[in-house]
């Protein structure tokens, strides 16, 4: 009896471990390639809409800024040695179907927002998925990111989507992560960009 139970555990355990090991291997070896595809198909079009420039040009200029456990992908636009555009990606927490990944485009000279784009979300179609609509997102255009934003219900300026408070809060959360990132790491980001633009090899990827 005991031997039989031991056999069940052993067989199922072995199958599970083999499966976990092979998946971990495939996941790590394909991670770079998947990241590239996401850049090309998702971030590229978002950047194009934010800066009105061809995506290839903008995707080449990618930085990753690690803060604590998070890593924020940052894209930038250089004109005559001056950074005239920054796009920061952040994962807004608290969405109804998980994180809402947004990309905020802004002008670093005066911190005014050029626009916000949704990189990925898994909100309910017809409710939370309305965060993608231009009518909701345009509330970001022209905001100044020197202080955190909030929904009108919390005394802020962003009107939530009715029936989709969680999704709206996730958008605000993502935005505030970008506000904090800029407040605490602005110099670091600009230095990184400076190093990159003077280094013809393009620095680390």
């Amino acid at each position: 009896m005991l031997r039989e139970i031991a056999r069940l555990v052993l067989v199922l355990g072995t199958i599970c471990s083999l499966s976990a090991a092979s998946l971990a291997y495939v996941r790590t070896s394909l991670a770079d390639r998947i990241e590239m595809q996401e850049d090309f198909y998702v971030r590229g079009p978002a950047l194009e809409r934010l800066f009105q420039r061809p995506a290839q040009e903008l995707l080449a200029e990618k930085l990753t800024v690690p803060v604590g456990e998070e890593a924020y992908p940052v894209f930038y636009l250089l004109e005559a040695g001056e950074v005239t555009g920054l796009a920061v990606e952040a994962a807004g927490k608290g969405g109804y179907g998980g994180n809402i990944v947004i990309m905020i485009g802004l002008d670093p000279r005066n911190d005014s927002v050029l626009g916000v784009e949704i990189v990925s979300h898994s909100e309910t179609p017809g409710l939370g998925a309305k965060v993608e609509l231009q009518g909701f997102r345009q509330q970001w255009t022209g905001l100044t990111l020197d202080c955190p934003v909030a929904l009108t219900g919390d005394g802020g300026r962003i009107d939530a989507i009715s029936g989709a408070t969680y999704s709206s809060e996730a958008m605000v959360d993502g935005t505030n992560q970008v506000v904090l990132l800029l407040r605490n790491h602005r110099e670091e980001i600009l230095t990184l960009i400076g190093q990159r633009s003077t280094d013809p090899s393009g620095g680390e990827s």
């Binding site: 067989v11 199958i15 499966s19 092979s22 394909l30 998947i34 595809q37 996401e38 198909y41």
Partner: protein
Amino acid sequence: MNFRQTLTHGFWRDLPPFRLVLGLCPALAVTAAAENGLGMGLAVTFVLIFSNMFISLLRRVIPDKVRIASFIVVIATLVVLVELVMKAYFFPLSQQLGIYIPLIVVNCIILGRAEAFASRNPVHLSMADGLSVGLGFTMSLTLVGSIREILGAGTWFGLAVFSEGFEAFSFMVKAPGAFLCLGLMLGLMNAWSRRRGEIFIQT
């Protein structure tokens, strides 16, 4: 069943989803376009061939009591593999199919073939069975997808098939169109089989 029968039974005699009446969820959900049907069918074919292979190889090792759990682990591993490869090499397709790729794990065809065929037949027959049923499923899904895309959007694999004046019958690419199309095809196939005096499962 001999080898030749095993290799061809999925094309008509056990054609999924019409004859087995299994795997209806993806057949209804992703067939709004021919390309999606083809992609889904090929993903299922890959999973079927290799899940049948592993399960047939392990059929004497896996104890009866944990066989369903073991089958599911094998199938889920292959599905996640397909999902990762699709994201890395066919990203737009993986976005189109979305949640239905991970849901292949609970596609009854795969578990059904594992339980009914692979767990009691040698490896080469099991793989032939997976190939046959998988390709049959791919054909069916591509066909349903083609009909819905041509009528509902006026295109086939994204290419326009009608002249400008065609008013697309957009009902067909929505959910009710899937039921209508699948139901009519199932009915036609059954009528045809009855005329020829074939015996089929859903008597």
